[in-house]
Symmetry: C2
């Protein structure tokens, strides 16, 4: 394909030159010849929009390409493809919309924006008849959106379970392997650069919830936004919870869970115990993995680095090659698919399983009283284990699946009972039989 003349060259503008943007620029430069061969025409970097021209960068941006005028860059008549790796809602949204309106195709890694306001972007792309690709928005380098959107398009996806936030996985893994508490593990993650100074978006599950919204939308062909996703972070996970999981041969993970429940979609992010035999249990450190269940394919898992400049840039470039090929062929890839238009099930109605550890008085009738609390809310018990005696007596109860509201009402009732000294650990259980 080397005989293509340069007037077929596709012109790329990159918005943002931080950890991801600088790697995008590097790959566009280093892989220039391979990209040209794979696309069918040269891909030429024509501008990189940054906030400050003199900020320190990981790479040398070719002379004359840096600009602080992002609006001007996306409005240039000759720009075919815009890569948005600024992140955040604004000015990213306005720039993407301007780029589409100007006739450019867009590749973005912006999970927050897509989860918050995806439909606005998708509609703009449809109206402009341009591509909007965003593989890098979920689980970094791991190809997961394309498989959901294309490879599984002839199948019926029933569940997606993802470890989609490396920071929290690092922290929970640390707590599991070292017995450390949450604060101690968070501090280590911060020292090693796995957690930010303000870790809220990661540890409180906001980042994972944005990704859950994107995954649920694609898996179930429906619009699911971040606001639809039930969210609990890991800041209240204790060393005792992790220890309790160990005793059940399980491990605590922050999971993004998207499920087809009858005609509805359930989407939630919370810490959960999963059996050590589950493929997700062995996802260590800051790695990500997404486990997919579908009617015909069965169980699939996709594993890899979920963040980082180069891995995220790999996903961006993969999209860029497809979008560029589409552009050369005067066509587009599949746009938003929301035809199924499924409603989101409220968390209270979503069936979950609970693990509850309770300090109790060791006297006759205690087990019956606890069992009654579960029965009062129609929650059936799968296992009860009693540990210790006398003042140290502890009951560990694992329920069968029940509506989440019934389970949390059961826990509230347990907390109010005289014979219960303390409910020491409450955590949902996933990845096993219901």
């Amino acid at each position: 394909m080397n005989e293509r003349s340069d007037d077929r060259a596709l012109k790329v503008a990159v918005l943002g030159c931080g950890a991801v943007g600088s790697q995008v620029v590097r790959l566009l430069t280093e892989q220039h010849d391979d990209l040209a061969a794979r696309v069918g025409a040269p891909v030429e970097l024509v501008g990189v929009a940054v906030r400050r021209l003199d900020a320190p960068r990981d790479i040398e941006v070719p002379h004359g390409l840096l600009t602080t005028d992002a609006v001007g860059l996306v409005s240039r008549e000759d720009v075919d493809l815009v890569v948005e790796v600024i992140g955040g809602l604004e000015p990213a949204r306005s720039l993407i919309l301007a780029a589409l309106e100007n006739g450019a195709s867009v590749v973005t890694a912006n999970k927050a924006l897509l989860a918050e306001d995806g439909p606005t972007l998708f509609e703009a792309a449809a109206k402009a008849e341009r591509d909007l690709y965003y593989e890098a928005a979920v689980a970094g380098a791991i190809p997961i959106l394309r498989p959901l959107r294309e490879s599984l398009a002839g199948d019926k996806v029933t569940r997606v379970l993802g470890i989609v936030n490396g920071t929290t996985n690092f922290i929970l893994d640390k707590m599991d392997t070292s017995g450390a508490g949450f604060s101690e593990a968070l501090e280590e993650a911060q020292e090693l650069g796995y957690a930010e100074a303000d870790p809220t978006a990661d540890v409180e599950g906001f980042d994972a919830a944005a990704k859950a919204a994107i995954l649920a939308s694609l898996a179930f062909h429906s619009r699911v936004t971040a606001a639809d996703v039930y969210r609990e972070g890991i800041s209240e996970v204790t060393a005792a919870d992790v220890q309790s999981a160990r005793e059940m041969n399980s491990v605590v993970k922050l999971l993004a869970i998207c499920e087809l429940r009858g005609d509805q979609v359930a989407a939630r992010v919370h810490p959960a115990m999963i059996p050590r035999s589950h493929p997700l249990a062995s996802v260590r450190g800051a790695y990500n993995a997404v486990f997919v269940e579908s009617e015909a394919a069965g169980q699939l898992m996709f594993y890899g680095p979920g963040a980082g400049g180069a891995p995220t840039a790999s996903a961006v470039l993969g999209d860029l090659v497809t979008v560029a090929r589409n552009r050369l062929a005067h066509t587009r890839g599949p746009g938003e698919s929301a035809y199924a238009d499924r409603a989101v099930q409220p968390m209270g109605e979503t069936r979950t399983r609970y693990h509850v550890a309770i300090d109790v008085d060791d006297r006759a009738g205690v087990l019956a009283a606890v069992a009654n609390a579960f029965a009062d809310h129609d929650v059936s018990i799968q296992t009860v284990r009693q540990e210790g005696r006398g003042a140290d007596a502890q009951l560990v109860v694992v329920s069968h699946a029940a509506p989440d509201a019934a389970l949390s009402a059961t826990v509230a009732q347990l907390r109010s009972m005289d014979i219960v000294r303390e409910v020491t650990s409450v955590m949902r259980v996933e990845g096993g039989d219901e």
Copy 2:
């Protein structure tokens, strides 16, 4: 998209109605409405070619669709898409070529044909300006070809390590967990339906070699055929080899290995020891997994069922949706990408690592003599472990990476030495540092 009129319906012919074909027919029927919404037009089954009309089948094929005239079916003017799930070289090849020539797009699961004669098919597809998709040919339901071809198109893949044959993985897993020998484990696999009565294609690595050729072609943008792939099966793997692996905290897997070695491509299939800490080590039973290393993305793994009617049909249908969308848009997906045109490195030159266990006489100078044999071939030793004493003395040597020919010459020399009573286990080592 429901407003599309039926004259936009895409007409599908299925060739073969065995384990995979019957599931393709089932999904086309059951998922009809979802497929129509995802494609943008109805997808209509117009014929199913079989060898015998009255053969017993897993499903009820709609009345009037069965035919024994496959040639007539692919020549029908109204057929847009042909799904080939007959397998084998002929008549599959002629039917695919006829379908393309007739203007139909093709989806196939035929790894043997692609690995044997892929270029002929790719050229026919290019000439006809039609799609030829084949995700189902490698690792069943696992989306691996699309990620390699599209998601990683902006990256530089350096290595692909795959467990791509479920039969051999089941047998090796059985040998590992139960201590069984090869024959015993094979028998169990046959009883459970994981191995065929004539297991040659699986246990001798022919099936895995075909998949290695396909993976290497895609990963390295070069033509690699089955004949280019070095191949060793597992029929000579002994319980002692598996035990020896256990002692090194490793496990024996049949691996399809595709590597970029300078300007060359190395592609090989053989049993190898990999550390239990490697993500591929925990792939159990008949599951498949493909581990990919690339310059920017780092390490990725794709895991799932590698065979079976429904999983394979899921992959076929995913391709079918893409090919149907392309057809509606009067476009094609990426065709063969062989621009890099890399040569295949001969196995003898490919750098590998060996694990060698040797029964020796326990007397002075033995270790020096063995070390000399390695040095004679410029092979550097990573570790030596001595076990037992006297008549039971055994040396276990693990080499650093060296040309495979040097390693096998070393083993031949060891076998000829007086102090060596027997070389009890020779196996390559993968998945660690060189």
